[in-house]
Symmetry: C3
Subunit: 215 residues, 3 copies
């Protein structure tokens, strides 16, 4: 969020909540990065690297593209959250837990990030279509880099509905804002739409059809 | 191109043509990205992602490196062209066509982009050697990322003449400009040189020799 | 280093030495990139690309993240060093030499870069924890991209102590500076600490333990 932009009172009131959600989103993504390192039987250093790339990679690309100062560079808390997530997964052997819960937290984080990414881009004057793309990148780029580095098939190459859910969330937010809806309402609806589609995919296995040359 | 830089009348006259060529270059590269997604039997979302990465990835890296605003972020048309390219490849089942034509369009796009990338860098005050590198990156980086994401052997790891052709085109443009040739003439000669070398490679299979420890 | 920042006389006196070390570090990393191309029996163009990515990739990411002009874009010497390194490895068939020496030069470059990267970040106002991360990225990111492009297992996925040594060096420098030690002393101690840990790893095979679910 761009502090220089005057926001309506309702959004101001939601700021502390947004800050908590933002940090929680980084933590959830960082845990998913550390779990990828655990699957690969990696060292604690790789745990930390994967946690950071996954936790803050998407927002980093967004900030570079829209010309904003990269959000985690001027402060220590985002990196600290990533390091704590990596250490916790290592020490608690979190990969042995049943991680259905994580899947749901990740879905929440994805929904929130798609909206946060699009909103920050719009605050920097980015028009609707690229703003939606910024929301999608914020929500999915960290995980893509994690998968490329770990040598796992990336979410991009799976048919699972993930990037599409982020796109739905970001597009709903941008579209409803353009129609005049208040940012907070548009954001909640957008995040809920993205989360909802992802929830359907998790529970029903709904997936996109792959391209077929013969039908 | 940097609008703040006064350009000679001949270049001004060529602007509409350049704009068309620029958008055509994005479209050709985007189609090649979508075709990689088709080869991998991917979903429409991956088609769109690959089309965008390949279509605008090279120019994005160039703009980040030279400190320019990233060219597609402030407007919607470049992304729209990439999405249309992805949709068209999917709907028209373009991977079943004989795509010799695409190879030639790609060669044209590469020649034009090598010159456009180097020219933009020089407009931002970049000296000759890094400006040539910016031309090469503009013409080839999108395809490299596409190949890494798709898990295909990248053009970097093939002996095919591609990056070299981009380097010849960018270096010819920068060298001729330094010798005092008008930008438009230097650009046409540079693009023709890059395209020409690539054309020889396409028609004759000309390739660079690999490194050998025993000769 | 940021020329706009007034530095103590001792640091000023060390400038020519630092400039030589800096260029030597780029050369060593560039050689390691060219050697990866040689192992893969690549062409001279790929030699040059790998040399440049490895030689200047880490500092490039650092500069983008901290909002500094990318260090090699406004001048020609860094790229020239990379091209010369690539040409020298090709012509001298350097991959047939016994390269124990290179391993040691690389360790020296890593130690120096971890400190240089952290120092530049602090000159740009970056707080301690992200400054340490910038040191680590400067020292290791080029090699990571080289490995991903070459399809080799990246240093990230090996248990070898490398990234940890860079972290130790950068953290020692940042910590000692915070305790009031003069930059030059803190830098020498930091680089020595990073180099020393790496030296132990090279000579004894010391490695980090991988994550194990059963102990």
């Amino acid at each position: 969020m761009n502090a220089a932009v005057a926001l309506p009172a309702a959004v101001e009131a939601a700021r502390p909540l947004l800050a908590v959600l933002d940090m929680a989103g980084v933590a959830v993504f960082a845990v998913s990065g550390a779990l990828a390192a655990a699957r690969a039987k990696q060292t604690i250093v790789t745990f930390a690297f994967f946690a950071a790339v996954t936790g803050i990679g998407g927002g980093t690309l967004r900030d570079l593209l829209i010309g904003a100062p990269v959000f985690w560079v001027g402060r220590s808390d985002y990196l600290a959250v990533c390091l704590i997530a990596a250490g916790a997964v290592w020490l608690l052997r979190a990969d042995r837990w049943r991680l259905q819960a994580l899947l749901w937290f990740d879905a929440l984080g994805m929904g929130a990030y798609a909206v946060i990414g699009a909103a920050k881009a719009q605050n920097y004057g980015v028009p609707p279509l690229p703003a939606v793309v910024m929301g999608v990148l914020t929500a999915s780029f960290g995980g893509i880099v994690r998968d490329v580095l770990a040598g796992e098939p990336s979410v991009l190459l799976r048919r699972e509905i993930y990037v599409s859910a982020a796109a739905l969330g970001a597009a709903s937010f941008v579209g409803l804002s353009a129609l005049g809806l208040a940012p907070l309402s548009a954001g909640i609806i957008g995040a809920a739409a993205g989360f909802g589609l992802r929830a359907v995919a998790i529970t029903t296995g709904l997936a996109l059809p792959g391209y077929r040359t013969e039908k």
